[in-house]
Subunit: 163 residues, 3 copies
């Protein structure tokens, strides 16, 4: 039988270089390093946020999501559960001479999610895109190109819904 754990402090990893705003809420089993989190933002269970990521104030990042280097969230962005961002368009394990690629041996393409946008659960966001203000990405979508402000996109690949 499993013990009922009371100590949340033992199961969150926040590296010393993380900058946390006021009133940030962080759930269990979270891994943060080198990132900046805005005031009152909430971060769910099993979330990883990498170095260089900037998350605005009052965002909500739901469980099982991954924010990689190169991602910026403006204020009030909603990230659903199991959302995956990308920063390397042509990922490979090996580089020249079949050596493991190093930390500098690739191009980091930036992604920005503008104020008040919502990204539905289970979505994958290709790198190099801008998701506009108050835009909505439907659940389970795969976003390959920019999303206009206020637009609703769905599907794989994600396309704008006709209203």
């Amino acid at each position: 039988m499993n013990q009922r754990l009371q100590e949340r402090d033992t199961i969150v990893s926040i590296s010393p270089d993380v900058v946390l705003g006021r009133g940030v809420v962080i759930h269990r089993f979270v891994n943060l390093y080198g990132c900046k989190i805005g005031d009152e933002t909430k971060i769910g269970t099993f979330v990883e946020i990498q170095k260089g990521v900037e998350v605005g104030a009052r965002c909500k990042i739901s469980s099982h999501s991954f924010l990689c280097e190169g991602v910026t969230l403006e204020e009030g962005v909603f990230i659903g559960h199991g959302v995956t961002f990308i920063n390397d368009r042509y990922p490979k394990a090996l580089g020249e001479e079949n050596l493991l690629k190093g930390d500098d041996d690739w191009l980091c393409e930036k992604t920005i999610v503008r104020r008040g946008a919502s990204i539905g659960s289970g979505s994958t966001i290709m790198c190099g895109v801008e998701i506009g203000t108050e835009a909505i990405v439907g659940a389970g979508s795969c976003v390959l190109s920019d999303v206009r402000s206020g637009a609703v996109v769905v599907g794989n690949p994600a396309r704008e819904m006709v209203k």
Copy 2:
């Protein structure tokens, strides 16, 4: 080098309000709170189950899956790996006056998965749906509407397969 951890008890979080049936098996890095888990059900690694969820007896919930408030699984349901349920059709981080939305500031739409159904790995299940008895959701599907008992659905959006 990483130490080889022997103590599973240190890495499972089960809040005191969880009701566990007889013979429930819970793997490592699991976060449960406010839910009810039926007899002999198995819960995999990196699973989160929220308050109000009811899981029947002899279900299998595989790693990296997320069951949110509003979800009910009847007896003998199989949930694959990386399956995401949803309870908020129009999620937003901010409500009126650009304040962070509160716990009561949204509508929780219920989802029910009937006895003996199987949901394939990597699927996303929109809220407000019923997945019928012994139905099968193929891997990688995005389910947006009800699934009939015994039906097989696949794709994004998931559609019934012609047999």
Copy 3:
């Protein structure tokens, strides 16, 4: 407020039967058992690798991915974030007489990913497939059949891109 955790050793689970090559790098919140990991391979946060899996040298397995029994990665394979493998084509929680299915009550279909292939983030890989040497699976894909060496496949279901 969360404590800033310094001890990574407390939050990795590697069972005693895991065979680790030289220079393997394992990040936080990882669950490994009964598998073999080749030299210099890197394993990200929230990854689970099951018994019987063989991972070659110099692979990169990114966060939130799941490698199940029956999966083999050759040398230099890149697995993106949130990638899910499958080994049971017809998963069910219950077997005969409505008893929970046992460990031997199913057919494990093998999957092999050949040298230098890359599997994009958010992809789901059906069991029984071979992904060829240097092949690329685009992000968010659902792979249901073999991928030829050097091919690029995308979508759900994944299809070969016309160049």
